[in-house]
């Protein structure tokens, strides 16, 4: 499993999902089921790259049915960045009263998955954590 919810330390309200790279160039890295079983709105997220991938892999991250690629959360960010860097995931450049839709917010239905699909190059070496904050729309 290369995509999994992490429970290693106190998270102060953040869902932490560990991403580990593989030699797969194009294909599903892994997925996480909606952990609450109700509709969620992802309102904030960051990607912390502790160890970059060797090549310029681009993981597509989004919400979909099991095993289905989606890029409504991450679409273009290469993971061969400097080690120890933090990247914004949900856009915060949004005015009051604007729609909080991708890339400024993403709905996560009860029975769907956060899927991670690799693209462009192998993600070998990558160790990163996706931190997510959401609202329970229930």
């Amino acid at each position: 499993m290369t995509v999994a919810i992490s429970t290693d330390d106190a998270k102060t309200g953040w869902l932490k999902i560990r991403l580990l790279g593989t030699a797969t160039v194009a294909g599903l890295l892994g997925q996480v089921a909606n952990p609450e079983g109700v509709l969620l709105h992802i309102c904030r997220a960051f990607l912390y790259i502790t160890t970059p991938s060797l090549a310029a892999a681009v993981p597509l991250v989004g919400i979909g049915a099991t095993g289905v690629s989606d890029n409504t959360i991450l679409a273009t960010l290469a993971t061969n960045q400097a080690a120890g860097t933090v990247w914004n995931v949900v856009g915060m450049d949004r005015a009051s009263e604007a729609a909080a839709t991708t890339p400024w917010g993403v709905l996560w239905p009860a029975a769907s998955f956060l899927t991670v699909t690799n693209s462009v190059a192998a993600s070998t070496g990558l160790v990163a954590d996706l931190y997510i904050r959401y609202i329970r729309l229930a």
């Binding site: 679409a75 120890g84 860097t85 933090v86 914004n88 949900v90 400024w104």
Partner: protein, 140 residues
């Protein structure tokens, strides 16, 4: 001590750091706050609430530094402490998806390092009362 973590009320998840001005002239440190978690943190949101203005035109620097009582400006540089009261945004959130969350739109706070508060303009900051509110992620 003019800089301290406040525990006066429920803070709804915010780290609240209380700042009081002083009569010292010349650039100087107000104080420093040690990383309270002992692990790497990412500060992604912060506000400064100026509730009482300083009498003179002092200015405030806030930043994260490995050394206690050292001037740093990666959170805030030369914010006027006299004049209008109110809430000031310290960590910018004007950041698009997939952008780097670096200063001024995010600051790493390493274990064992400090948030430092510094008077830059060389003026006494007598009367100043303010609070820095900080949200962070534990990167551990």
């Amino acid at each position: 001590m003019t800089v301290a973590i406040a525990t006066d009320n429920a803070q709804a998840g915010w780290l609240k750091i209380h700042l009081l001005g002083d009569a010292t002239a010349g650039a100087h440190v107000y104080g420093s706050i040690l990383n309270p978690e002992g692990v790497l943190l990412h500060i992604y949101e912060a506000y400064f609430y100026k509730s009482v203005a300083s009498a003179a035109a002092s200015t405030l620097d806030i930043g994260v530094n490995a050394t206690i009582d050292t001037q740093d400006t990666d959170m805030c540089s030369a914010l006027a402490t006299n004049g209008a009261l109110g809430v000031y945004k310290i960590i910018g959130t004007d950041l698009a998806s997939e952008g780097a969350a670096t200063t001024p739109r995010g600051v790493l706070w390493a274990a064992g390092s400090y948030i430092t508060f510094w008077e830059q303009a060389g003026q006494a900051s007598t009367l100043l009362v303010g609070d820095l509110y900080v949200h962070y992620i534990r990167l551990a």
